[in-house]
Amino acid sequence: MSKPFLQVDGLSKVYPDGQGGDLTVFEDVRFALEKGEFVCIIGHSGCGKSTILNVLAGLDEASSGNVVMSGKEVKGPGLERGVVFQNYSLLPWKTTLNNIVFAVRARWPKWSKEQVREHSERYLKMVGLDHALNRKPSQLSGGMRQRVSIARAFATQPELLLLDEPFGALDALTRGVIQDELVKIWEETRQTVFMITHDVDEAILLSDRIFLMSNGPNARIAESVKVDIPHPRARATIFQNPAYHRTRDYLVDFLVNRSGSALPEKDGSPKFVEPASGDVTPASGPSESKAESAARAVNA
């Protein structure tokens, strides 16, 4: 068996609880990502999603466990991992274009000025911001800023993209538009993406698999849910697919009823479930009820 692109083993994070004891936020988190996969992670607030993402980014250190990407252990941040922060984190004294140029130049220091500029403009165009090249972030709306931030991350073509609730601060309308844009860019680039979200629909629209985290403290990544809906997907049509509803029901059920008690496999890896398999594999008919499907998934 070949090694996966990204392998996370036995990750845990312990903080002092302020009363002399320890607080284990999450423990024994194990998972693997394949090249080109889009994976979302969902879990209740405070279970440690951002911490996991920051460990993958190299911005935070785990208390134990390790992360191996392309055969190399992750220690500290690096250009092969791009991050989109929840609060955009654009440099406010630089124009839109120069924010991208800054990243592109860091990625390819040997490129000529024209090459850097041309590359940066191409990515700004992808997110529909080629008209705002010379504006400062303070002159952009929240949605536009997040687009710049996404363009910056994609422009450096990292092997792994990490997105921490990139649309959390946006209104529903803007959110939808940018989700579509993200789908489009991803179809074009097929980069490996690991993304945190609280939005079940967003997760289904974007991901190949969805990690479900149980509640903290001592949170785990309990399940890995396959989203069996073919690409390309679009927000407007995705809910016509029966697999969409099965997946959605399954996720909501987990978050509402089972997130407190769910556990991964005995070896610590997330349970792999395919809530939509009834519809996509011809072997089992479309008549299979949701409960059966869920039960089968849990036993899978």
Binding site: F85, S89, L91, A106
Partner: protein, 275 residues
């Protein structure tokens, strides 16, 4: 209705006229009195010299001085432009030297909590010392009055710059530092391309405070060391009992101070950013 600016300007000018008018009236030489004492008669009638000169006299003098500001007729008789030039030169030299020291050290203690803790006690003790208190020591060690004045400027402008730089650098948003980290910028590139622009407005505020203090201190320093400069000029004219010149140079001190502040205000505008 005239705009606010126009009305403000009109009001300013009226205040000035009113003030100059009162001043002029208050400083008229008294009518030759009948009952002059013998002493007064001996001293040449009214005691003109000990009177504050009227604004008309000051303006007349200002006109004469400003129409030839750079004449040089020996050690005690130089144009106001030359004297101000000496002072500005000392302030800028001391200020630049302070910058060269304060910015790197400010960066260091801003980025390293260890350095901050280690150096903070010294800063806290040195900072409240009046810059002029250094003068005797400076004169003794440097053995040169001009360099000592510059040293005093150096020592007084260093603190606001140092503290503001440290504060600005320490409070750069962690998000921006993380952006630098995820893009694998080295410490030097991070300092120059992220931390410096992020902290620049705070640093410039410190520099603006510094140049203001330096301009306050240079007058006093030059009164002490003598020789040249606007501070020496004021003191010299006082010794000559030429009060019109004293008043004129006071105004010039204010004017040049304003220009220095304006220049740094401009620079501050350049580095400002909105989040």
């Amino acid at each position: 209705m005239a705009s606010l600016n126009v009305r403000a300007a009109l009001l300013s000018v009226s205040f000035l006229i009113l003030f100059l008018g009162c001043w002029e009236m208050a400083t008229q030489p008294p009518e030759a009195q009948t009952g002059m004492t013998e002493y007064e008669l001996l001293m040449g009638g009214a005691d003109q010299e000990s009177r504050v000169p009227p604004p008309s006299a000051v303006i007349k003098l200002a006109w004469a001085e400003l129409s030839d500001p750079f004449y040089d007729a020996g050690a005690n008789d130089k144009g106001i432009g030359i004297q101000l030039g000496y002072s500005v030169y000392r302030v800028l030299t001391g200020f630049l030297a302070a910058m060269a020291v304060a910015l790197p050290i400010g960066f260091l203690i801003g980025m390293s909590p260890l350095m901050y803790k280690a150096l903070n006690p010294y800063i806290q003790v040195l900072r409240p010392i009046s810059p002029l208190a250094w003068m005797p020591l400076a004169l003794f060690i440097i053995q040169d009055s001009d360099a000592s004045a510059i040293f005093v400027i150096f020592i007084c402008s260093i603190w606001p710059m140092l503290l503001n730089t440290a504060f600005g650098v320490a409070n750069v948003r962690q998000d921006w530092v993380n952006v630098a980290r995820t893009h694998e910028l080295g410490p030097l590139r991070t300092a120059v391309t992220v931390i410096l622009p992020a902290a620049a407005p705070t640093i410039l505020t410190g520099m603006r405070i510094s140049i203001g203090i330096a301009w306050l201190v240079i007058v006093a320093a030059e009164m002490l060391v003598g020789g040249t400069g606007i501070g020496y000029y004021v003191w010299n004219e006082w010794n000559n009992l030429d009060l019109a010149s004293v008043i004129f140079s006071i105004l010039m001190i204010g004017f040049v101070g304003m220009l220095l502040d304006l220049a740094l205000g401009r620079a501050q505008k350049l580095v400002e950013y909105k989040e």
